[in-house]
């Protein structure tokens, strides 16, 4: 079947199938399944031969659709369609309808995307003012605190570079919760040396409030950053093992360093800043 090889890169099977069907429609109006299937398979073959490095995952996605198409086509070619099992027939109809629905959905978003792209292009012609306040007002903007240690700067970097946890805290719960990260850090420092190693699940097992779990989670991150604990994870999404680093830690040192404030009462500006950094 003569099929003009296109140079277009098809993002996926739907992309290709849509292109083929819409193109056929323009050319012939009367589209036939055979034409589509053959063109699709041709294109697939071209893609496979054009690059030996065709991503297996991508290839699979194309092949899945190819399988459906081929099944649709062979169905039509089989003689004596009357004795075809009705269930099979219905299943195939269903498959075809699903494919059709997915193609329509894909086309919908394709068109939406081009409109969004046009909106962005228009919006991009207008540039916002971002100058901010001039030097006359700069003294109103708070300066950085004095007395920040290099270690605190390093902690700030690690905080900023750590992927932000997703949980969003429902503010309605706030009034009921007393747990602070500082409290949780203190608890853990008390508890962990005794158990040595514990899974994150067990560590939070007895907690009821989601917020308490989050607080403990933040405390663990805090301890991890300070090297007091190590985290191990055997498999992705597996449970996390929290391991106490068996070193003598002078807690007073920690306080002087300003990295951990265990009192939970007299939070320094820095500790406050430390806790509020799990923001988005």
């Amino acid at each position: 079947m003569p099929y003009a090889v296109t140079t277009t890169v098809f993002e996926g099977p739907f992309d290709l199938l849509l292109h083929l069907i819409m193109k056929e429609q323009v050319d012939l109006y009367e589209v036939s399944l055979s034409t589509i299937v053959d063109a699709y398979l041709c294109e697939l073959e071209r893609m496979t031969t054009a690059s030996e490095t065709l991503d297996l995952e991508v290839a699979t996605e194309f092949l899945l659709i190819a399988a459906t198409l081929v099944e649709l086509k062979t169905r039509r070619l089989l003689p004596g369609r009357d004795d075809v099992d009705l269930d099979d027939e219905l299943a195939l109809w269903e498959e075809r309808d699903v494919l059709l629905a997915r193609l329509l959905e894909c086309k919908t978003f394709k068109d939406a995307a081009s409109v969004l792209g046009a909106l962005a292009t228009t919006a991009g012609r207008s540039h916002p003012r971002t100058a901010g306040v001039d030097e006359r007002f700069i003294n109103l903007v708070p300066d950085l605190p004095t007395g920040v240690t290099p270690m605190q700067l390093r902690t700030a970097f690690l905080r900023a570079a750590t992927p932000k946890p997703v949980p969003r805290v429902d503010l309605a719960h706030m009034t009921m919760i007393r747990a602070t990260v500082a409290d949780a850090v203190a608890e853990l420092i008390d508890e962990l040396p005794r158990v040595g190693r514990i899974s994150f699940k067990r560590l939070t097992g007895e907690l009821v409030e989601r917020l308490e779990v989050i607080v403990r989670f933040l405390a663990i991150l805090e301890l991890f950053k300070q090297g007091l604990i190590d985290l191990e994870q055997a498999i992705t999404f597996g449970d996390i093992e929290v391991v106490w680093q068996n070193r003598t830690v002078d807690l007073t040192d920690g306080l002087n360093d300003g990295t951990v404030d265990l009192t939970g009462v007299d939070l320094t500006d820095y500790a406050l800043a430390g806790i509020d950094t799990y923001e988005g």
Binding site: I21, V37, L99, L100, L104, L116, A131
Partner: protein, 217 residues
């Protein structure tokens, strides 16, 4: 009566001054607080300031974007401004990224897998790009097994499109393919009698060969 409600010259001048020193869109509530007027008055004041900029054919406009007001350059002057601004001209999004972004915009909150299902291809890389650009952001987790991350669009996305809120997105219904397209797709995937008869005229034999050749792929 009207006179009482007309904000003083000072307030409208102050509005201009504050918008000039802002480095991102300013929410009406904050403007109301700073200017000591009602939020409703802020909106009226901004509307009339915007109209004035337009009337006077200034080189800048006042717009409401991503929930706040800001000054920006008039779009017909982009040629001059772009000659001046080297930075910030983010490179264009690929078609794949744009499509994925459209899916997230209209289907949020949505997981990577759900977006991939719609596009029929893996979207992990594209989603990561969109996230790095700040157009999409994690907004929660699916409650189902696996607790997949759910994504939504950001205020950066709104600013990028020049929209005030998601409600200003063109309705998705506008993009649902018309009957011609549905028919074309439908016919393209049809194997009913009419199609068969049609094919029979063209000669089934040829089709047969190719059909089975293709099966070997």
């Amino acid at each position: 009566m009207e006179l009482d409600q007309t904000p003083s010259l000072e307030v409208s001048r102050a509005l201009e001054a504050v918008l000039l020193v802002a480095d991102q869109p300013v929410e009406p509530g904050l403007l109301a607080q700073v200017l000591d007027i009602e939020t409703r008055e802020v909106d009226e004041l901004c509307a009339s300031l915007a109209a004035r900029c337009e009337e006077e054919k200034r080189g800048f406009v006042l717009v409401k974007v991503a929930g706040g007001y800001r000054f920006q350059s008039a779009s017909d002057l982009s040629g001059y401004v772009e000659r001046f601004v080297l930075e910030g001209q983010s490179s264009r999004l690929s078609a794949a990224a744009l499509e994925t972004l459209a899916i997230v915009a209209y289907k949020q909150p949505i997981s990577r897998a759900q977006a991939a299902a719609i596009r029929g291809v893996n979207v992990d890389g594209v989603m990561r790009t969109l996230q790095q650009r700040g157009y999409i952001t994690e907004v929660g987790r699916d409650s189902g097994p696996g607790q997949a991350l759910l994504f939504g669009t950001s205020t950066t996305f709104l600013e990028w499109l020049g929209l005030n809120s998601l409600a200003d997105l063109p309705p998705l219904a506008e993009f649902v393919p018309g009957p011609e397209v549905v028919e074309a797709l439908e016919v393209g995937l049809r194997w009913d009698d009419a199609d068969l008869a049609n094919d029979a005229e063209q000669g089934l034999g040829v089709d047969d060969d190719e059909g089975f050749q293709s099966l070997t792929l």
